[in-house]
Amino acid sequence: MLKDFFKKSPNIQRRTIKTTQIPDGLFQKCLKCNEILYSEDLIENYYVCPNCNHHIRVNPRERLSMILDSGSFVEWDLDMELSNPIDFPGYKEKLQHIKSVTNLDEAVITGLGRIGGTKVAIGVMASSFLMGSMGRAVGEKITRLIEAATDRRLPLIIFCCSGGARMQEGMVSLMQMAKTSAALKRHDKEGLLYISVLTDPTTGGVMASFAMLGDIILAEPGALIGFAGPRVIEQTIGQKLPEGFQRSEFLIEHGFIDKIVKRSQMKKILSMLIRS
C-alpha cells in the first residue's frame, strides 16, 4: 500500500499527466503492450488500449465526463483548507506544487450529477494527486459527500483510486478511514444505495474502508486492488507473488467484488444499477 505508492509516485504522476495530455500529441504508446496508438482513437476508446485492453488511468474530470450526463455536474467543497496536522516539514509547499501541476484541488472531486437523468452523489479520486492518498481534506470531502447523499436521499457512487492513507498527516489520516466508514453506515441505515467502483490502484487505507463497503462493488479490468502493497507482501514473505495477484480478476475469484466492468460499459451498467 503506502510503501509501494510512495516509491512509485514520481513516475506514476508523470505518466498520468502525460496520458491526460494525449490531445496534444498525435501518438501515444501503450505502457503495457508498447503498441503505438493514435491519440484520437485512444480518446474515443475511453483511454483503453484497443490492442491489449489496458485501462489507462484517467483524471477525475475525464472520468466524470464519461459517466455523467453532460453539463449535469455541480462540484462541492472546492478549496478545502490545507491541513498539516503534524506540521510535516515541506508538506504545505508540496501540496501547493501538486495543486498547480495537476490543476486539482485535492485527491478527490465530489459533487452532484445525473446519470441517464437520475441524480447521484458522486466522488472521483485522482491518482495524479499524491497517489490519491487520503488525508484530512480527502476524508472530509468524502464524508461530506456521503452525508449529503444521506440527507438528500441520493444514491452514492465513489470511484476509488488510492495508494492509501497519507502518511504526511500522521494519525489524522488514519482517522479518515473511520470517519468515512461511519458516514457510510448512516447512509446504509437509511436504505440508500452505495456503489463503489475500484480502479487502478485501490490499496491500503482506502481499500480497507469505503472502497470495500459498497452495496455493489464494481472494478475496472486489471486494476490493482489490495490491502497491503505487493512489495510489502513480497518483503514479508520473501518470495515473488503469483501472476495476477491482487488484480480485479483475483478479487472476483475470491468473492470480494460483484462485477468487472469495462470502461466503455461503465455508464450503462451504473445507470441500470441505480434504477434497480
Binding site: M171, L174, A178, A182, R186, F210, L213, F227, I233
Partner: protein, 263 residues
C-alpha cells in the same frame, strides 16, 4: 523520568518483549474470563483473544490483540498480527455483546494487520473495513486501550470506540517508523527521526484529540511491576462504565460518531 524519553525510546519500550501483553491485563484486571473462539467462516485466529469477562459483577466482552512473550509463543500468535478471521471473530463477538447489552473493551497491541498472500485472499481489507463500519453503530459502549503497539489500520479496526486510551509509553501510528523512513529517505535506519516526525506518542495524540486519556506506567514496566497500573485502569474502567450507563443507545452511538466526525 520517562518524560525525558524520545519518541524512538518509546517505540522501543512499546515493543519490548517483556512488556505485559493482553493476557496479563485480562487475568489481572478482570475477575473471570471465558475465552470464545472462531469467526464462524474460516477459522480461529490466535493473534486475537476474545471472550466474556466479569468485572465488579458486570459482564463485559473483552477482545484483545495478543502478542507472544517469547519467540515460540510469538510464532503461535503471529506476533500479534491479526488475519481476516481475527477481525471477523472480533466483529462477531462485538455483535454478540450488543445483543446481550454488554459493554466492550478492546486491547490494542499489534505491529499491524498481517500482510500475506492468504490474508489478501481472504479479504484483509474487507475485514478491516467492515469492523470500522459496524463498530460505528454498535449500541453498547466501546472502550479501546492501546497497551503497546498500535499499528495502522490493523489497530484502528479495534479502535472505533467511544473512548481510546493509551499507556504512556505505547505508540499509535499510521505507519511504522521503519516503513516511513524507508519510503521517505530510502533508509530504514533513520527510523528514530521518523518516530519524531510521525507524532505517534500518547502525549502527541492526546494533543491531536485522537485519544482521550493517557494512563501512567512505571519506568521498568513488566508483569511484576504492573499492579499500580492495574488498579488505576480498574478505577478508570469503572468510571467509564458509570458515565456510559446513563446514556441512551442513541447517545452512545452518536457520541462515537461525533468523536470521529470532528477529526
Amino acid at each position: 523520568m520517562t518524560d525525558k524519553l524520545t519518541p524512538w525510546d518509546r517505540v522501543k519500550l512499546a515493543r519490548k518483549i517483556d512488556r505485559p501483553t493482553s493476557s496479563d491485563y485480562i487475568s489481572k484486571v478482570f475477575d473471570s474470563f471465558i475465552e470464545l473462539h472462531g469467526d464462524r467462516y474460516y477459522g480461529d485466529d490466535s493473534a486475537v483473544v476474545a471472550g466474556i469477562a466479569k468485572y465488579n459483577y458486570q459482564s463485559i466482552t473483552v477482545i484483545a490483540q495478543q502478542k507472544g512473550k517469547n519467540i515460540k509463543e510469538n510464532k503461535k500468535r503471529n506476533y500479534g498480527m491479526p488475519k481476516p478471521e481475527g477481525y471477523r471473530k472480533a466483529l462477531r463477538l462485538m455483535k454478540q455483546a450488543e445483543k446481550f447489552k454488554r459493554p466492550i473493551i478492546l486491547l490494542i497491541d499489534t505491529p499491524g494487520a498481517f500482510c500475506g498472500i492468504e490474508a489478501e485472499e481472504r479479504g484483509q481489507g474487507e475485514a478491516i473495513a467492515k469492523n470500522l463500519y459496524e463498530m460505528s453503530s454498535i449500541k453498547v459502549p466501546i472502550l479501546s486501550i492501546v497497551i503497546g503497539e498500535g499499528g495502522s489500520g490493523g489497530a484502528l479496526a479495534f479502535g472505533v470506540s467511544n473512548e481510546v486510551w493509551m499507556l504512556k509509553n505505547s505508540i499509535y501510528s499510521v505507519i511504522s517508523p521503519e516503513g516511513f523512513a524507508s519510503i521517505i529517505w530510502k533508509d530504514g535506519k533513520r527510523a528514530p527521526e521518523a518516530a519524531d516526525l510521525l507524532k505517534l506518542t500518547a502525549h502527541d495524540l492526546i494533543r491531536l484529540k485522537i485519544i482521550d486519556k493517557v494512563i501512567d506506567e512505571p519506568d521498568e514496566f513488566t508483569v511484576d511491576s504492573m499492579d499500580n497500573l492495574v488498579n488505576d485502569i480498574k478505577t478508570q474502567i469503572q468510571q467509564f462504565l458509570d458515565s456510559h450507563i446513563k446514556m441512551t443507545e442513541e447517545e452512545i452511538v452518536s457520541s462515537r460518531y461525533n468523536r470521529f466526525r470532528t477529526l
